[in-house]
Amino acid sequence: MTIGNWLRQHGKACGAAARRIAGQPVNTLLSALVVGIALALPAGGEMLLVNFLRLAQNVSATPQLSIFLTLDANKKDSQEIDARLKRHVLVRDYRYVPREEARSRLKQTEGLAEVIDSLPRNPFPDAFVVTPKGESPEQLENLKLEFANYPKVEHVQLDSLWVKRLDALLRLGQMLVTGLAVLLGVALVAVTFNTIRLQILTQRAEVEVSRLLGASDAFIRRPFFYFGALQGLLGGVVAWVLVLAAAYALARPVSRLASLYSFNFALRPLPLAESLFLIAFAVFLGWLGAWLSVSRHLRDIEPR
Protein backbone atom coordinates (compact mmCIF):
# COMPACT_ATOMS: atom_id res chain seq x y z
CA MET A 1 0.00 0.00 0.00
CA THR A 2 1.43 3.40 -0.93
CA ILE A 3 1.70 6.21 1.58
CA GLY A 4 -0.99 8.21 -0.17
CA ASN A 5 -3.22 5.19 0.06
CA TRP A 6 -2.41 4.73 3.73
CA LEU A 7 -3.18 8.35 4.46
CA ARG A 8 -6.41 8.09 2.50
CA GLN A 9 -7.48 5.01 4.47
CA HIS A 10 -6.81 6.77 7.79
CA GLY A 11 -8.49 9.95 6.65
CA LYS A 12 -11.53 7.94 5.62
CA ALA A 13 -11.69 6.07 8.92
CA CYS A 14 -11.37 9.30 10.89
CA GLY A 15 -13.97 10.96 8.70
CA ALA A 16 -16.34 8.05 9.14
CA ALA A 17 -15.93 8.19 12.92
CA ALA A 18 -16.43 11.96 12.94
CA ARG A 19 -19.56 11.63 10.83
CA ARG A 20 -20.93 8.98 13.13
CA ILE A 21 -20.30 11.25 16.11
CA ALA A 22 -21.75 14.33 14.44
CA GLY A 23 -24.76 12.35 13.27
CA GLN A 24 -25.98 11.85 16.83
CA PRO A 25 -25.42 15.18 18.57
CA VAL A 26 -27.49 14.49 21.68
CA ASN A 27 -25.87 11.16 22.35
CA THR A 28 -22.43 12.51 21.61
CA LEU A 29 -23.02 15.32 24.05
CA LEU A 30 -24.15 12.89 26.71
CA SER A 31 -21.14 10.64 26.21
CA ALA A 32 -18.81 13.60 26.30
CA LEU A 33 -20.52 14.73 29.48
CA VAL A 34 -20.00 11.37 31.13
CA VAL A 35 -16.36 11.19 30.12
CA GLY A 36 -15.91 14.84 31.04
CA ILE A 37 -17.39 14.45 34.48
CA ALA A 38 -15.38 11.34 35.14
CA LEU A 39 -12.19 13.17 34.21
CA ALA A 40 -13.09 16.45 35.85
CA LEU A 41 -13.33 14.99 39.33
CA PRO A 42 -9.77 13.75 39.76
CA ALA A 43 -8.48 16.70 37.75
CA GLY A 44 -10.37 19.09 40.00
CA GLY A 45 -9.18 17.22 43.08
CA GLU A 46 -5.63 17.42 41.81
CA MET A 47 -6.04 21.14 41.22
CA LEU A 48 -7.21 21.64 44.82
CA LEU A 49 -4.36 19.50 46.10
CA VAL A 50 -1.77 21.36 44.07
CA ASN A 51 -3.11 24.64 45.41
CA PHE A 52 -3.06 23.27 48.90
CA LEU A 53 0.52 22.09 48.52
CA ARG A 54 1.50 25.51 47.29
CA LEU A 55 -0.12 27.01 50.36
CA ALA A 56 1.54 24.48 52.60
CA GLN A 57 4.92 25.27 51.12
CA ASN A 58 4.48 28.93 51.79
CA VAL A 59 3.38 28.34 55.31
CA SER A 60 5.74 25.82 56.73
CA ALA A 61 7.68 23.87 54.22
CA THR A 62 10.69 23.76 56.51
CA PRO A 63 10.21 23.44 60.23
CA GLN A 64 11.23 26.33 62.38
CA LEU A 65 12.99 26.64 65.70
CA SER A 66 11.84 29.13 68.30
CA ILE A 67 14.42 30.39 70.79
CA PHE A 68 12.90 31.85 73.95
CA LEU A 69 15.15 34.02 76.11
CA THR A 70 14.84 34.23 79.83
CA LEU A 71 12.53 36.92 81.17
CA ASP A 72 15.43 38.84 82.60
CA ALA A 73 17.33 38.96 79.31
CA ASN A 74 18.08 42.50 78.25
CA LYS A 75 18.79 44.22 74.94
CA LYS A 76 22.45 43.29 75.00
CA ASP A 77 21.74 39.63 75.48
CA SER A 78 19.46 39.72 72.43
CA GLN A 79 22.12 41.39 70.35
CA GLU A 80 24.61 38.73 71.33
CA ILE A 81 22.32 35.96 70.12
CA ASP A 82 21.45 37.92 66.99
CA ALA A 83 25.17 38.11 66.22
CA ARG A 84 25.68 34.37 66.72
CA LEU A 85 22.73 33.48 64.48
CA LYS A 86 23.97 35.80 61.79
CA ARG A 87 27.24 33.91 61.66
CA HIS A 88 25.77 30.42 61.91
CA VAL A 89 26.21 28.42 58.66
CA LEU A 90 23.15 26.24 59.26
CA VAL A 91 20.76 29.16 59.68
CA ARG A 92 19.03 30.12 56.50
CA ASP A 93 16.99 32.90 58.00
CA TYR A 94 15.89 34.18 61.36
CA ARG A 95 13.67 36.80 62.86
CA TYR A 96 13.70 38.60 66.18
CA VAL A 97 10.32 38.56 67.95
CA PRO A 98 10.37 41.13 70.78
CA ARG A 99 8.22 40.33 73.79
CA GLU A 100 5.70 42.97 72.81
CA GLU A 101 5.13 41.29 69.46
CA ALA A 102 4.74 37.89 71.09
CA ARG A 103 2.12 39.35 73.35
CA SER A 104 0.13 40.89 70.54
CA ARG A 105 0.40 37.77 68.40
CA LEU A 106 -0.96 35.59 71.15
CA LYS A 107 -3.79 38.07 71.56
CA GLN A 108 -4.92 37.09 68.08
CA THR A 109 -5.36 33.50 69.17
CA GLU A 110 -9.00 32.77 69.73
CA GLY A 111 -10.32 33.36 73.21
CA LEU A 112 -7.03 34.60 74.56
CA ALA A 113 -7.17 38.30 73.77
CA GLU A 114 -8.94 39.29 76.90
CA VAL A 115 -6.99 36.90 79.05
CA ILE A 116 -3.81 38.51 77.85
CA ASP A 117 -5.22 41.95 78.41
CA SER A 118 -6.16 40.98 81.89
CA LEU A 119 -2.62 39.97 82.77
CA PRO A 120 -0.90 42.44 85.08
CA ARG A 121 2.26 42.45 82.95
CA ASN A 122 3.60 40.94 79.75
CA PRO A 123 4.45 37.35 80.60
CA PHE A 124 6.41 36.73 77.40
CA PRO A 125 10.13 36.72 76.86
CA ASP A 126 11.93 37.98 73.77
CA ALA A 127 12.34 35.29 71.16
CA PHE A 128 13.96 34.37 67.86
CA VAL A 129 12.30 32.33 65.12
CA VAL A 130 14.93 30.50 63.09
CA THR A 131 14.56 28.81 59.70
CA PRO A 132 17.40 26.30 59.50
CA LYS A 133 19.14 25.13 56.36
CA GLY A 134 18.92 21.37 56.86
CA GLU A 135 15.69 19.54 57.39
CA SER A 136 16.77 16.15 58.67
CA PRO A 137 15.56 15.34 62.19
CA GLU A 138 19.11 14.86 63.58
CA GLN A 139 20.32 18.16 62.22
CA LEU A 140 17.37 19.90 63.80
CA GLU A 141 17.89 18.12 67.08
CA ASN A 142 21.58 19.16 67.10
CA LEU A 143 20.68 22.77 66.36
CA LYS A 144 18.15 22.73 69.15
CA LEU A 145 20.79 21.53 71.62
CA GLU A 146 23.28 24.10 70.39
CA PHE A 147 20.87 27.02 70.69
CA ALA A 148 19.81 25.89 74.13
CA ASN A 149 23.40 26.40 75.30
CA TYR A 150 23.48 30.02 74.19
CA PRO A 151 23.54 32.46 77.10
CA LYS A 152 20.23 33.66 78.53
CA VAL A 153 18.25 31.12 76.55
CA GLU A 154 15.40 29.68 78.57
CA HIS A 155 14.19 27.17 76.05
CA VAL A 156 14.33 26.13 72.38
CA GLN A 157 11.29 24.74 70.69
CA LEU A 158 10.99 22.73 67.49
CA ASP A 159 7.86 23.57 65.62
CA SER A 160 6.49 20.25 64.54
CA LEU A 161 2.82 19.77 65.40
CA TRP A 162 1.73 22.02 62.57
CA VAL A 163 3.88 20.08 60.17
CA LYS A 164 2.39 16.83 61.36
CA ARG A 165 -1.15 18.09 60.96
CA LEU A 166 -0.50 19.37 57.53
CA ASP A 167 1.12 16.13 56.62
CA ALA A 168 -1.87 14.14 57.82
CA LEU A 169 -4.27 16.39 55.94
CA LEU A 170 -2.23 16.18 52.76
CA ARG A 171 -1.97 12.44 53.04
CA LEU A 172 -5.74 12.20 53.39
CA GLY A 173 -6.22 14.53 50.44
CA GLN A 174 -3.75 12.61 48.32
CA MET A 175 -5.46 9.37 49.24
CA LEU A 176 -8.85 10.73 48.26
CA VAL A 177 -7.61 12.13 44.97
CA THR A 178 -5.74 8.96 44.09
CA GLY A 179 -8.75 6.84 44.95
CA LEU A 180 -10.92 9.13 42.89
CA ALA A 181 -8.53 9.02 39.96
CA VAL A 182 -8.30 5.25 39.99
CA LEU A 183 -12.04 4.76 40.37
CA LEU A 184 -12.89 7.25 37.69
CA GLY A 185 -10.16 6.08 35.36
CA VAL A 186 -11.68 2.63 35.60
CA ALA A 187 -15.14 4.08 35.09
CA LEU A 188 -13.94 5.97 32.06
CA VAL A 189 -12.34 3.01 30.37
CA ALA A 190 -15.44 1.00 31.21
CA VAL A 191 -17.70 3.61 29.68
CA THR A 192 -15.70 3.78 26.48
CA PHE A 193 -15.39 0.01 26.42
CA ASN A 194 -19.12 -0.33 26.68
CA THR A 195 -19.91 2.42 24.23
CA ILE A 196 -17.64 0.86 21.66
CA ARG A 197 -19.02 -2.59 22.37
CA LEU A 198 -22.51 -1.40 21.65
CA GLN A 199 -21.26 0.63 18.73
CA ILE A 200 -19.76 -2.56 17.36
CA LEU A 201 -23.01 -4.39 17.92
CA THR A 202 -24.98 -1.74 16.07
CA GLN A 203 -22.47 -1.89 13.26
CA ARG A 204 -22.44 -5.66 13.31
CA ALA A 205 -23.82 -5.90 9.79
CA GLU A 206 -21.22 -3.50 8.51
CA VAL A 207 -18.38 -5.40 10.14
CA GLU A 208 -19.70 -8.70 8.86
CA VAL A 209 -20.17 -7.48 5.30
CA SER A 210 -16.78 -5.80 5.27
CA ARG A 211 -15.18 -9.07 6.37
CA LEU A 212 -17.03 -10.87 3.58
CA LEU A 213 -15.72 -8.41 1.06
CA GLY A 214 -12.15 -9.00 2.19
CA ALA A 215 -11.51 -6.09 4.55
CA SER A 216 -8.44 -6.54 6.73
CA ASP A 217 -8.72 -6.39 10.50
CA ALA A 218 -6.96 -3.04 10.50
CA PHE A 219 -9.48 -1.61 8.05
CA ILE A 220 -12.37 -2.69 10.24
CA ARG A 221 -10.87 -1.58 13.54
CA ARG A 222 -9.63 1.81 12.48
CA PRO A 223 -12.95 3.72 12.61
CA PHE A 224 -13.63 2.37 16.10
CA PHE A 225 -10.27 3.58 17.36
CA TYR A 226 -10.91 6.99 15.93
CA PHE A 227 -14.37 6.94 17.43
CA GLY A 228 -13.01 6.18 20.89
CA ALA A 229 -10.27 8.78 20.61
CA LEU A 230 -12.65 11.47 19.36
CA GLN A 231 -15.07 10.70 22.13
CA GLY A 232 -12.19 10.99 24.58
CA LEU A 233 -11.20 14.30 23.05
CA LEU A 234 -14.68 15.74 23.49
CA GLY A 235 -14.79 14.38 27.02
CA GLY A 236 -11.43 15.95 27.79
CA VAL A 237 -12.63 19.33 26.64
CA VAL A 238 -15.76 19.01 28.76
CA ALA A 239 -13.61 18.01 31.74
CA TRP A 240 -11.42 21.03 31.25
CA VAL A 241 -14.43 23.34 31.12
CA LEU A 242 -15.86 21.74 34.25
CA VAL A 243 -12.61 22.15 36.17
CA LEU A 244 -12.42 25.76 35.11
CA ALA A 245 -16.00 26.31 36.22
CA ALA A 246 -15.30 24.60 39.53
CA ALA A 247 -12.27 26.83 40.06
CA TYR A 248 -14.51 29.85 39.61
CA ALA A 249 -17.27 28.50 41.80
CA LEU A 250 -14.89 27.50 44.60
CA ALA A 251 -12.75 30.63 44.52
CA ARG A 252 -15.03 32.55 46.90
CA PRO A 253 -15.63 29.97 49.62
CA VAL A 254 -12.02 28.83 49.58
CA SER A 255 -10.57 32.25 50.02
CA ARG A 256 -13.11 33.00 52.72
CA LEU A 257 -12.05 29.88 54.53
CA ALA A 258 -8.42 30.78 54.08
CA SER A 259 -8.97 34.24 55.44
CA LEU A 260 -10.51 32.76 58.56
CA TYR A 261 -7.18 31.02 59.08
CA SER A 262 -5.51 34.34 58.34
CA PHE A 263 -4.06 33.19 55.03
CA ASN A 264 -4.17 35.25 51.94
CA PHE A 265 -4.97 32.63 49.35
CA ALA A 266 -6.51 32.56 45.91
CA LEU A 267 -7.32 29.36 44.03
CA ARG A 268 -5.35 29.06 40.82
CA PRO A 269 -6.97 27.21 37.89
CA LEU A 270 -5.14 24.44 36.00
CA PRO A 271 -2.09 25.74 34.14
CA LEU A 272 -1.87 25.29 30.37
CA ALA A 273 0.52 22.34 30.41
CA GLU A 274 -1.71 20.40 32.74
CA SER A 275 -4.82 21.32 30.76
CA LEU A 276 -3.19 19.88 27.67
CA PHE A 277 -2.14 16.81 29.57
CA LEU A 278 -5.72 16.36 30.79
CA ILE A 279 -7.04 16.42 27.25
CA ALA A 280 -4.32 14.16 25.91
CA PHE A 281 -5.01 11.75 28.71
CA ALA A 282 -8.71 11.76 27.83
CA VAL A 283 -7.88 10.92 24.23
CA PHE A 284 -5.61 8.14 25.40
CA LEU A 285 -8.26 6.65 27.68
CA GLY A 286 -10.83 6.79 24.89
CA TRP A 287 -8.45 5.06 22.58
CA LEU A 288 -7.63 2.48 25.26
CA GLY A 289 -11.29 1.71 25.87
CA ALA A 290 -11.83 1.34 22.13
CA TRP A 291 -8.82 -0.90 21.83
CA LEU A 292 -9.90 -3.17 24.65
CA SER A 293 -13.42 -3.33 23.34
CA VAL A 294 -12.42 -3.95 19.77
CA SER A 295 -9.97 -6.66 20.77
CA ARG A 296 -12.65 -8.39 22.75
CA HIS A 297 -15.70 -7.94 20.61
CA LEU A 298 -14.66 -7.65 17.01
CA ARG A 299 -13.33 -11.16 16.60
CA ASP A 300 -16.72 -12.51 17.62
CA ILE A 301 -18.29 -11.09 14.51
CA GLU A 302 -17.58 -13.66 11.89
CA PRO A 303 -19.47 -13.66 8.63
CA ARG A 304 -21.85 -16.54 8.19
Binding site: M1, N5, R8, Q9, K12, A205, E206, E208, V209, S210, R211, L212, L213, G214, A215, S216, D217, F219, P303, R304
Partner: protein, 224 residues
Amino acid sequence: MSALRFDQVAKRYPGGIEAVSGVSFEVGKGEMVVLSGHSGAGKSTLLRMIPAIERPTEGRVVVNGQDVGKLKRSGVAILRRNLGVIFQDRKLLFDRTVFDNVMLPLAIAGFAPREAARRVRAALDKVGLLEREKAYPIALSGGEQQRLAIARAVVNRPSLLIADEPTAHLDPAYAHDIAQMFRSFNGVGVTVIVATPDEALFAPYGARRIVLDHGRLVTEEAVP
Protein backbone atom coordinates in the same frame (compact mmCIF):
# COMPACT_ATOMS: atom_id res chain seq x y z
CA MET B 1 -4.45 -24.87 -13.28
CA SER B 2 -8.20 -24.91 -12.70
CA ALA B 3 -10.03 -21.93 -11.23
CA LEU B 4 -11.66 -24.04 -8.56
CA ARG B 5 -11.30 -27.60 -7.34
CA PHE B 6 -13.25 -29.51 -4.69
CA ASP B 7 -11.44 -32.61 -3.49
CA GLN B 8 -13.49 -35.10 -1.44
CA VAL B 9 -14.99 -32.22 0.49
CA ALA B 10 -17.33 -32.81 3.42
CA LYS B 11 -18.88 -30.28 5.75
CA ARG B 12 -20.42 -31.34 9.02
CA TYR B 13 -22.04 -28.49 10.99
CA PRO B 14 -21.64 -28.40 14.77
CA GLY B 15 -25.24 -29.53 15.19
CA GLY B 16 -24.29 -32.86 13.58
CA ILE B 17 -25.82 -32.15 10.20
CA GLU B 18 -23.61 -33.27 7.31
CA ALA B 19 -24.57 -30.70 4.69
CA VAL B 20 -21.98 -31.76 2.11
CA SER B 21 -20.38 -35.21 1.78
CA GLY B 22 -17.51 -36.40 -0.39
CA VAL B 23 -17.92 -33.85 -3.12
CA SER B 24 -15.25 -33.64 -5.82
CA PHE B 25 -15.38 -31.56 -8.96
CA GLU B 26 -13.32 -29.09 -10.88
CA VAL B 27 -14.16 -25.82 -12.63
CA GLY B 28 -11.82 -24.67 -15.36
CA LYS B 29 -10.85 -21.05 -15.91
CA GLY B 30 -13.56 -19.25 -17.85
CA GLU B 31 -16.14 -21.97 -17.31
CA MET B 32 -19.74 -21.39 -16.31
CA VAL B 33 -21.31 -23.87 -13.92
CA VAL B 34 -24.87 -24.14 -12.61
CA LEU B 35 -25.38 -25.79 -9.23
CA SER B 36 -28.83 -27.08 -8.44
CA GLY B 37 -30.60 -29.34 -6.01
CA HIS B 38 -33.51 -29.35 -3.60
CA SER B 39 -33.81 -26.92 -0.72
CA GLY B 40 -31.32 -27.97 1.94
CA ALA B 41 -29.26 -30.01 -0.53
CA GLY B 42 -26.09 -28.15 0.50
CA LYS B 43 -25.76 -25.64 -2.35
CA SER B 44 -25.14 -22.62 -0.14
CA THR B 45 -22.83 -24.58 2.11
CA LEU B 46 -20.76 -25.62 -0.85
CA LEU B 47 -20.54 -22.10 -2.21
CA ARG B 48 -19.70 -20.65 1.21
CA MET B 49 -16.61 -22.80 1.39
CA ILE B 50 -15.05 -21.02 -1.58
CA PRO B 51 -14.46 -17.69 0.18
CA ALA B 52 -13.70 -19.60 3.44
CA ILE B 53 -16.87 -18.50 5.19
CA GLU B 54 -17.17 -22.12 6.14
CA ARG B 55 -14.16 -24.44 6.34
CA PRO B 56 -14.54 -28.01 5.09
CA THR B 57 -14.40 -30.63 7.81
CA GLU B 58 -12.84 -33.04 5.33
CA GLY B 59 -11.09 -32.67 1.98
CA ARG B 60 -9.68 -29.64 0.26
CA VAL B 61 -11.08 -26.63 -1.56
CA VAL B 62 -8.54 -25.16 -3.95
CA VAL B 63 -9.10 -21.70 -5.47
CA ASN B 64 -6.62 -20.47 -8.08
CA GLY B 65 -4.11 -23.03 -6.80
CA GLN B 66 -4.45 -22.04 -3.14
CA ASP B 67 -5.78 -24.47 -0.55
CA VAL B 68 -8.41 -22.28 1.08
CA GLY B 69 -8.45 -24.36 4.25
CA LYS B 70 -4.80 -23.49 4.91
CA LEU B 71 -5.08 -19.73 4.50
CA LYS B 72 -4.41 -17.43 7.44
CA ARG B 73 -6.67 -14.51 8.35
CA SER B 74 -4.90 -12.09 6.08
CA GLY B 75 -4.80 -14.63 3.26
CA VAL B 76 -8.54 -15.09 3.51
CA ALA B 77 -9.06 -11.33 3.28
CA ILE B 78 -6.95 -11.15 0.13
CA LEU B 79 -8.76 -14.13 -1.38
CA ARG B 80 -12.14 -12.52 -0.75
CA ARG B 81 -11.07 -9.26 -2.33
CA ASN B 82 -10.51 -11.15 -5.56
CA LEU B 83 -13.86 -12.93 -5.61
CA GLY B 84 -17.28 -11.62 -6.52
CA VAL B 85 -19.93 -13.14 -4.28
CA ILE B 86 -23.71 -12.75 -4.38
CA PHE B 87 -25.05 -14.10 -1.11
CA GLN B 88 -28.37 -15.80 -0.79
CA ASP B 89 -29.49 -13.23 1.80
CA ARG B 90 -27.81 -10.41 -0.17
CA LYS B 91 -26.05 -8.84 2.85
CA LEU B 92 -26.70 -5.26 1.85
CA LEU B 93 -25.98 -2.43 4.27
CA PHE B 94 -29.23 -0.64 4.99
CA ASP B 95 -27.61 2.44 6.49
CA ARG B 96 -25.65 3.21 3.32
CA THR B 97 -26.91 4.44 0.02
CA VAL B 98 -27.04 2.29 -3.08
CA PHE B 99 -23.91 4.05 -4.29
CA ASP B 100 -22.02 3.47 -1.04
CA ASN B 101 -23.01 -0.17 -0.96
CA VAL B 102 -21.38 -0.74 -4.31
CA MET B 103 -18.44 1.46 -3.31
CA LEU B 104 -17.58 -0.70 -0.31
CA PRO B 105 -15.51 -3.39 -2.08
CA LEU B 106 -13.51 -0.68 -3.85
CA ALA B 107 -12.93 1.24 -0.61
CA ILE B 108 -11.67 -1.98 0.96
CA ALA B 109 -9.38 -2.61 -1.98
CA GLY B 110 -8.07 0.95 -1.63
CA PHE B 111 -9.08 2.39 -5.00
CA ALA B 112 -8.58 6.07 -5.68
CA PRO B 113 -11.92 7.87 -5.18
CA ARG B 114 -12.39 9.06 -8.75
CA GLU B 115 -11.69 5.74 -10.42
CA ALA B 116 -13.84 4.01 -7.80
CA ALA B 117 -16.81 6.31 -8.43
CA ARG B 118 -16.53 5.70 -12.16
CA ARG B 119 -16.61 1.95 -11.67
CA VAL B 120 -19.51 2.11 -9.22
CA ARG B 121 -21.61 4.04 -11.72
CA ALA B 122 -20.71 1.62 -14.50
CA ALA B 123 -21.81 -1.34 -12.36
CA LEU B 124 -25.05 0.37 -11.28
CA ASP B 125 -25.81 1.21 -14.87
CA LYS B 126 -25.35 -2.39 -15.86
CA VAL B 127 -28.07 -3.55 -13.42
CA GLY B 128 -30.36 -0.60 -14.16
CA LEU B 129 -30.03 1.14 -10.80
CA LEU B 130 -28.04 4.21 -11.76
CA GLU B 131 -30.99 6.52 -11.19
CA ARG B 132 -31.41 5.16 -7.67
CA GLU B 133 -27.80 5.68 -6.57
CA LYS B 134 -28.78 8.06 -3.78
CA ALA B 135 -31.57 5.85 -2.43
CA TYR B 136 -31.21 3.57 0.56
CA PRO B 137 -31.72 -0.15 -0.01
CA ILE B 138 -34.89 -0.10 2.06
CA ALA B 139 -36.46 1.98 -0.70
CA LEU B 140 -35.77 -0.72 -3.25
CA SER B 141 -38.10 -3.54 -4.20
CA GLY B 142 -36.98 -7.12 -3.64
CA GLY B 143 -35.78 -7.48 -7.20
CA GLU B 144 -33.96 -4.15 -7.13
CA GLN B 145 -32.12 -5.20 -3.99
CA GLN B 146 -31.11 -8.38 -5.77
CA ARG B 147 -29.68 -6.36 -8.64
CA LEU B 148 -27.85 -4.12 -6.17
CA ALA B 149 -26.19 -7.21 -4.71
CA ILE B 150 -25.14 -8.22 -8.20
CA ALA B 151 -23.66 -4.80 -8.90
CA ARG B 152 -21.63 -4.97 -5.70
CA ALA B 153 -20.32 -8.43 -6.61
CA VAL B 154 -19.07 -7.43 -10.04
CA VAL B 155 -17.80 -3.90 -9.41
CA ASN B 156 -14.39 -5.27 -8.49
CA ARG B 157 -14.11 -7.18 -11.79
CA PRO B 158 -13.43 -10.50 -10.07
CA SER B 159 -12.01 -13.43 -11.99
CA LEU B 160 -14.36 -15.80 -10.16
CA LEU B 161 -18.02 -14.93 -9.61
CA ILE B 162 -20.10 -16.91 -7.14
CA ALA B 163 -23.84 -16.39 -7.09
CA ASP B 164 -26.28 -18.01 -4.67
CA GLU B 165 -29.77 -17.85 -6.18
CA PRO B 166 -29.24 -14.51 -7.90
CA THR B 167 -32.59 -14.61 -9.64
CA ALA B 168 -34.79 -15.14 -6.59
CA HIS B 169 -37.41 -12.38 -6.35
CA LEU B 170 -36.99 -11.56 -10.01
CA ASP B 171 -39.72 -11.92 -12.56
CA PRO B 172 -38.87 -14.10 -15.59
CA ALA B 173 -37.96 -11.13 -17.77
CA TYR B 174 -35.43 -9.78 -15.30
CA ALA B 175 -34.17 -13.25 -14.49
CA HIS B 176 -33.31 -13.70 -18.14
CA ASP B 177 -31.54 -10.34 -18.17
CA ILE B 178 -29.46 -11.41 -15.20
CA ALA B 179 -28.65 -14.78 -16.74
CA GLN B 180 -27.63 -12.91 -19.88
CA MET B 181 -25.45 -10.63 -17.79
CA PHE B 182 -23.66 -13.56 -16.22
CA ARG B 183 -23.22 -15.00 -19.65
CA SER B 184 -21.54 -11.79 -20.79
CA PHE B 185 -19.18 -11.77 -17.77
CA ASN B 186 -18.38 -15.33 -18.65
CA GLY B 187 -17.81 -14.23 -22.22
CA VAL B 188 -14.94 -11.95 -21.14
CA GLY B 189 -13.22 -14.76 -19.24
CA VAL B 190 -14.81 -14.62 -15.79
CA THR B 191 -15.38 -18.01 -14.21
CA VAL B 192 -19.00 -18.19 -13.01
CA ILE B 193 -20.63 -20.57 -10.58
CA VAL B 194 -24.33 -20.10 -9.94
CA ALA B 195 -26.60 -21.93 -7.51
CA THR B 196 -30.20 -21.77 -8.63
CA PRO B 197 -33.33 -23.84 -8.33
CA ASP B 198 -34.10 -22.78 -11.89
CA GLU B 199 -31.35 -24.38 -13.96
CA ALA B 200 -33.36 -24.07 -17.13
CA LEU B 201 -32.69 -20.35 -17.01
CA PHE B 202 -29.05 -20.89 -17.78
CA ALA B 203 -29.59 -23.68 -20.25
CA PRO B 204 -29.43 -21.49 -23.36
CA TYR B 205 -25.89 -20.45 -22.41
CA GLY B 206 -24.47 -23.95 -22.39
CA ALA B 207 -23.49 -23.98 -18.73
CA ARG B 208 -22.25 -27.15 -17.14
CA ARG B 209 -24.69 -28.69 -14.64
CA ILE B 210 -23.86 -29.93 -11.15
CA VAL B 211 -26.68 -31.36 -9.04
CA LEU B 212 -26.56 -31.97 -5.32
CA ASP B 213 -28.87 -34.28 -3.41
CA HIS B 214 -28.63 -34.41 0.35
CA GLY B 215 -25.09 -33.15 0.20
CA ARG B 216 -23.88 -35.62 -2.41
CA LEU B 217 -22.99 -34.84 -5.98
CA VAL B 218 -25.43 -36.79 -8.16
CA THR B 219 -24.96 -35.33 -11.65
CA GLU B 220 -22.17 -33.52 -13.35
CA GLU B 221 -22.80 -32.83 -16.99
CA ALA B 222 -23.20 -30.14 -19.59
CA VAL B 223 -26.69 -28.67 -19.74
CA PRO B 224 -28.45 -30.51 -22.58
